[in-house]
Symmetry: C2
Subunit: 404 residues, 2 copies
DNA sequence: CAATATATTTTGACACGTAAATTAATAGTG
DNA sequence: CACTATTAATTTACGTGTCAAAATATATTG
């Protein structure tokens, strides 16, 4: 067994409690202390103490007004909510040649956003930090705030990352390997930067602010150029031992199957990803234009047999992959998250039926499968959510220390 | 968020601590208090309190003597170990037409074992309980103990089971569905009975007493007639929301592939299971003789091309499935557990190479993959281990209550 | 035997959560 | 409009757990 992580005993309990209370408030939106006690199982006394701490730290506030409708007698409940102005954060998604930035308040509300071109697809660690700073500065300018007003910046990278230690083993955006970005405000930047894998961050966003609110065991699947997954187990992102699990897109669904970007064959992604469907349909995307499934769908509707086959095969393989995940994880919910992804060919009664027929317990109801269209800022939003969470945790940590 | 499970606050902490201490002792075998403190991160004072409680409860004892070799000065450390005589338990595996029973002491050491034929493959809940009682009684007779001397009985069933509430949603051994076996000593039996899924119980046995000791994230794969899996995450069995996950054998590895026992096609099991390999090799098992992979291996060695193909395809598919698990779970360790299973064709440098070539991060080392040959009593042993764990937890629970 | 080293136990202090009592703030009621 | 009933939130007093430090136990070394 691992030695306890420094925090044994009661001090640790306090942090956990404060965190539970804050998460409950975030999840429900507006909630009275008495209901927090109900939800969390803590006593009203403890909730009073916790909320008092959180208010002193500025993370939450009392909402001036009533809940209108229900007029009951007795002392009226005082609703609490997040204090949106508590912090400003930025979320940055580093894509192939582009960084997109979202500035958000502590509630997660979008304040501003901006896209920046990157000089190259792969950079050194220092180079990446500079680009992040540049992109964030540009977004701050849009928002009319100073870069120094941000409390923290979350960054979503493709790659293998140990989020707890801010250590990037490997990323497709970095030329360096095994970079330790440390835990303090970065050099040349006034705020701390928190790195994590992009798919994990979408899962985090779904958990805290999306379709996964209040659900503690679910999967998040993204289908774009590649196919990604985030796993939430017991309310926590599951990362595996080295932080390189959840590679749904590279699970094999055939022996000697289609050729994948990764160089191997038979990966699910090689049937599902944008590039794969276009390839199978015999279409070539215009130079620099993003591969667009819409083209294939249009062709299929127009009667193009090859396009139809490509879509059918993609949906067959998708159903097979989904059934595999259900057979393995038995999740409560699967969220199909996309920025602009069209899930029409992947989420239909027909596909659901295929999934149902490939799940072992055929008579059991399938888990809830929901499509969540986030829009272009999905990935950046995940990063921003991560920053909010990290800031919250740090604040709670400091809070617990100060008490001593 | 789920409301706290009744146990908030400090009382709960105590139970967790006691449990950690007991698990450490079980894992290490003989250990001094000071080392327990080291391992668990608890303070020596707390360890003294905990071990004192555990000794009063009779679960552990001081071992009379030294550790011989190293003569150091200072007060000599006193080693602690489980008190084997603390409890006797039975583990029962219900198979198609046969129940096998293992009687073990609190350390898990085998006291006796016995097999019993079952009148039918599927029974009512009452019928099953009677058969369990009969089989256990027979084993007790062998061991020369009274049935009432047992503190508890664990039962391994194929099926979907909620182990925390002892609720069997469905089992291949039961005609009834949704049977609640309750938490108290069963009717007609002097001891409490603890049910769980058989694959989960093998995983539990590996975790507490097998190759998974001290490892908190690993997979256990069993290949016999069917193909099963147990998942350990953060030191706990992962069960999914309905308790029907980890169906590794029924993940699909091909569209429209081989026909599986479950009625579907392309299941991994339809390439790997005993019956599948014999089928592919064109051999028919003798009536009532267990399907024996050895036959196929012999034929292959003798130059039978069809047998060779069957084995090659099985190992190809196995490698593919293993790679999928690694890509998804990124585990620290995968244990191939078998009673008598011969893993020769599934665990060789050739297969390892195939796995390596199908894992996304090709340059990363594979997780440790170990074969564990338990012998015939593997399944029953899992059930006995479960009983030991449940008894321990109950004792600790009572301990914590009594303090108040 | 004194000095030193190491393991364990005891003691006293501190932190946390909670039940119960108290205070606060409202609606009904005659 | 006082007065009561009712519900929410806070304060108080207390029990429990862990831990640091001190005390104790038991060995070796010189």
């Amino acid at each position: 067994m691992a030695p306890a992580d420094g925090a044994t005993g009661a001090t640790h309990l306090k942090r956990v409690g404060r965190r539970r209370v804050l998460e409950t408030i975030r999840r429900v939106g507006k909630i009275a202390r008495i209901d927090i006690a109900q939800e969390t199982g803590l006593s009203p006394a403890t909730v009073t103490a916790a909320t008092s701490d959180l208010m002193n730290a500025g993370l939450i506030e009392e909402v001036a007004q009533d809940l209108g409708g229900t007029v009951k007698r007795g002392r009226p409940r005082v609703l609490l909510r997040l204090r949106a102005k508590a912090h400003l954060v930025a979320g940055v998604k580093i894509a192939h040649r582009r960084a997109s930035v979202l500035i958000a308040d502590f509630e997660g509300k979008e304040i501003a956003s901006a896209d920046t071109d990157l000089p190259s697809a792969r950079m050194t660690a220092d180079g990446l930090m500079q680009e992040i700073a540049r992109a964030v500065a540009a977004a701050c300018a849009c928002a009319g705030i100073a870069s120094a007003d941000l409390s923290g910046v979350g960054v979503a990278l493709a790659g293998q990352i140990d989020a707890t230690s801010n250590f990037v083993h490997w990323s497709s955006s970095l030329t360096d390997r095994n970079v330790d970005f440390g835990t303090d405000p970065a050099e040349g930047a006034p705020w701390p930067v928190f790195f994590d894998n992009d798919a994990n961050l979408v899962a985090k966003a779904e958990h805290l602010m999306g379709e996964g609110r209040g659900v503690d065991n679910f999967l998040v699947v993204t289908v774009e150029h590649g196919v990604g997954m985030g796993i939430v187990i017991d309310g926590k992102i599951y990362r595996g031992v080295h932080g390189c699990g959840a590679e749904f897109g590279h699970t094999k669904v055939a022996l000697d199957g289609a050729l994948c970007q990764c160089g191997q064959t038979g990966c699910l992604e090689a049937y599902l990803g944008d590039y794969a469907v276009l390839r199978a349909a015999g279409l070539t995307p215009a130079m620099d234009a993003p591969a667009d499934i819409g083209l294939v769908q249009k062709a299929a509707l127009a009667g193009d047999a090859r396009a139809q086959d490509a879509l059918t095969r993609a949906s067959d393989m998708f159903a097979l992959g989904m059934a595999n995940m259900i057979n393995l994880f038995d999740p409560e919910l699967i969220i199909l998250s996309g920025a602009q992804t069209c899930f029409d060919h992947l989420h239909s009664p027909k596909v659901t039926e295929k999934i149902q027929n490939s799940v072992l317990r055929i008579d059991a109801p399938l888990p809830d499968i929901r499509v969540h269209q986030w829009g272009d800022l999905m990935w950046a939003r995940g990063a921003a959510t991560f920053a909010i969470e990290q800031i919250s945790l740090r604040t709670i940590q400091t809070m617990a220390q100060n008490a001593a």
